[in-house]
Symmetry: C2
Subunit: 336 residues, 2 copies
C-alpha cells in the first residue's frame, strides 16, 4: 500500500512591531489556528525519463495537474495562477532532490483555511507543511530549523528575500520574537483573536517606502515614534511571558496605542481604521492593523464576551472575519 | 436717530497641540472665516425701576425676548435653551455696568455662521462681538486685551474655567500660540481649510481623563508621544511663520502624523477617522481631528484642486461640511 503522509502548518500574524522592525526594533509574530494541510505520497517514476513529477491537487485553486519537476517548457504553458501555486512546490522538491541526492515523484494534495494574499503567511504555511510531509515520506530526519530553512527556499521563489518570519512562525508555532535578523520562539497560551480582512491589497513596498520618506523628512518626530513602537513590543513581550497572569487589558491597550502610531506614520487606511474602531466599539480589548498596512488585515483581541459581537460588527462592515486563537503548535505530522 | 453698532468676531479651531497642551506643550489655534455678528443699540431705561433691560433677538434659536438684567425671577422662568443663550449676554452687560459704572439697557440682535457646540468657539465669538459692540456703543475705548478679558467673563458663565483660547482667538484673529498660560498672536495668510463636523458630541472631560489614564499607566510610552505632538506644533509654527514661502505640503503631513498620535492616545473615533481618511483620499494635503476628540470636528488642509472633491466626500459621509479659510481679522466694527 502507498504510504500517505499528512502534515499541517499554521498561519501567522504580526502582533506588534511591523514597520519598526525595519529600523532595528523587535517584532513579535504569533501562529494562528488556521492551517494549511498537505497529503503527500510517492508516485512511480516515469522510467523513460530522468525527470521526476509533481502531481498537485489544490482544490482551493481548482488545480489538478501533473508536471515534470524540471520541465521548463511545460511550466511556461501554465496560466499565471497555476504558475504561482505550483512554482513553490517545484522549488521545494528540487531543493529536497539536490540536498538529499534523491530523485522522486510525488502526489501532493493541499487544502488551507488561511486567507490568501492577506499577509497571514499562507504560502509559508503550505511550504512548511510540505517540507514536513516530504521529510517524513523520504525518511529524512529533519530538525525544525531545517524544515524552516527548506520552506524558506520556496518562499524566496515567491517573495524575493522575505524576512523569514512567516516560515519560522509556521514551523515553531506559538510566538516568535524577531529582532535584528534573529528569531526567538516563545511559548504562548491560546489567546483568542479576531482577524478582519479588508479585502484591499496590502501595499508593502509602497508603505515601507512611505515610512522611510517620513522618517527622513521628519527625523526628529518620526524616529521617536518608531522607538515607541519598539517599547510597546518589548512591553507586550513581557506581558506575554507572564503566562500565568496574562494581562489582556494591558495587551489590548498597547494594541490600540500601536495602531495610532502606525496611523501616524501613514500606513493605516480608511478600511483598516473602520474595522479597528468597530472592533473596539463592540467590546474588543484592543485592535490594530497588522503587517504592512494600506489594506490587508487587522486583528482584535477579544474575550468570551466580545467574540460574537466583534465578529458580527466586522462582518457587517463586509470584512472577511475569522475568529481564531494563537496556535501553540507549529508544523505537525498526522498519522494516516 | 438711534445709534446702531455692528460688530463681528470669528470662530476658532485648534490647528495643532490639543491634549499635549495639558502637559505643557504649545498649541496653535487659528481664527476661521465664520463669524458671529451682533447689532446693538441702546434702548430707553424703564424710569420706574433701577433695573436695566436686555432685548435679545437670536434668530438661530428662535429667541426674541426682553428681560431685566438682574431680574433673577424672570430668568428662572426661561427654558434651558433660553437660559443658555441669554445668560452670557446678561453676564457681559453686568460686567460692563459694574466696571464702567453705567446703567444701560440694550437691544442686541445676534446671528452666526458658526456651528454650535462643535468646539469652534461659537459662544466666545458672540461674546467678543458683543463686547466690541458695547464698548463702541458706550463710547468706551478698549484695547483688544480688554475686549478679550470682558468676553472671558461671559465665557466663564458658560464653561467654568475655560483656557481663554476661544475668546483670545476671536478677538485677535489669525493665529494664536498658547503655551503655559500665555498667548502670542501671529499673523497668518488666508489658508484654506475644510471643517467636517461629525455631529457626535465631543467628550472633553472624559477624553482628557483617558489620556491622563494612559499617560500614568504607560508613562514611558505615552509621555514621548505627547512630546512628539509638541515637536509637531513647534515645527508647524515655524512653517506658518515663513509666510512668504508657506510649505503647505509639510503642514499637511504634520497634520496627518498628529492625527495618528491623537489616535494613539485614544481620542479619535470611528466618525473622525472616516472623515480624516476620506479627506486624504480625495486630495486633502492633510487632515486631523481638532479639539478634544471623541466627536466634534476634523479639519482638512486643502488647495484649489481639492476643495470641491474633499467637500463632496465629507458631505457624502453625512458630515456638516464647511469650506472656509483662516480669518486674518479678529473682532471687527462695522459702519452702519
Amino acid at each position: 500500500m502507498t504510504k500517505v503522509v499528512q502534515a499541517s502548518a499554521p498561519a501567522k500574524v504580526i502582533l506588534f512591531g511591523e514597520h519598526a522592525v525595519v529600523y532595528g526594533y523587535p517584532a513579535i509574530a504569533v501562529a494562528l489556528n488556521l492551517r494549511a494541510k498537505v497529503s503527500a505520497s510517492l508516485i512511480e517514476q516515469n522510467t523513460s525519463s530522468n525527470d521526476s513529477y509533481l502531481y498537485l491537487i489544490a482544490k482551493d485553486y481548482n488545480i489538478e495537474r501533473k508536471i515534470g519537476v524540471s520541465n521548463q517548457e511545460e511550466f511556461q504553458r501554465l496560466t499565471n495562477t497555476e504558475k504561482k501555486v505550483i512554482e513553490p512546490f517545484l522549488a521545494l522538491i528540487k531543493v529536497f532532490q539536490q540536498k538529499f541526492e534523491t530523485l522522486f515523484s510525488v502526489k501532493i494534495e493541499v487544502t488551507s483555511s488561511i486567507p490568501k494574499g492577506a499577509g497571514l503567511g499562507s504560502s509559508a504555511a503550505v511550504s512548511v507543511a510540505t517540507s514536513t510531509a516530504l521529510s517524513e515520506l523520504l525518511g529524512i530526519d529533519l530538525s525544525l530549523a531545517e524544515i524552516s530553512a527548506l520552506a524558506y527556499e520556496a518562499e524566496k521563489v515567491l517573495h524575493g528575500t522575505p524576512s523569514g518570519i512567516d516560515n519560522t512562525t509556521a514551523t515553531y508555532g506559538a510566538g516568535l520574537i524577531y529582532e535584528k535578523g534573529s528569531f526567538t520562539p516563545i511559548e504562548l497560551p491560546e489567546i483568542p483573536l479576531i482577524i478582519g480582512n479588508t479585502g484591499v491589497e496590502r501595499q508593502t513596498r509602497k508603505l515601507v517606502g512611505y515610512v522611510r520618506y517620513l522618517h527622513d523628512k521628519y527625523p526628529e518626530i518620526v524616529s521617536p515614534i518608531l522607538e515607541q513602537m519598539g517599547k510597546i513590543t518589548r512591553e507586550a513581550i513581557s506581558i506575554l511571558k507572564n503566562n500565568d497572569n496574562l494581562d489582556l487589558q494591558r495587551l489590548g491597550e498597547l494594541m490600540n496605542i500601536n495602531h495610532g502610531l502606525l496611523s501616524a506614520v501613514g500606513v493605516s487606511s480608511l478600511e483598516l481604521d473602520v474595522l479597528v474602531n468597530e472592533a473596539r466599539k463592540h467590546g474588543a480589548l484592543g485592535a490594530k492593523l497588522t503587517g504592512a498596512g494600506g489594506g490587508g488585515c487587522m486583528i482584535a483581541l477579544i474575550d468570551d464576551n466580545s467574540k460574537e459581537t466583534v465578529k458580527r460588527a466586522l462582518t457587517e462592515k463586509k470584512a472577511e472575519t475569522i475568529a481564531t486563537h494563537i496556535a501553540t503548535k507549529g508544523a505537525l505530522l498526522y498519522d494516516s
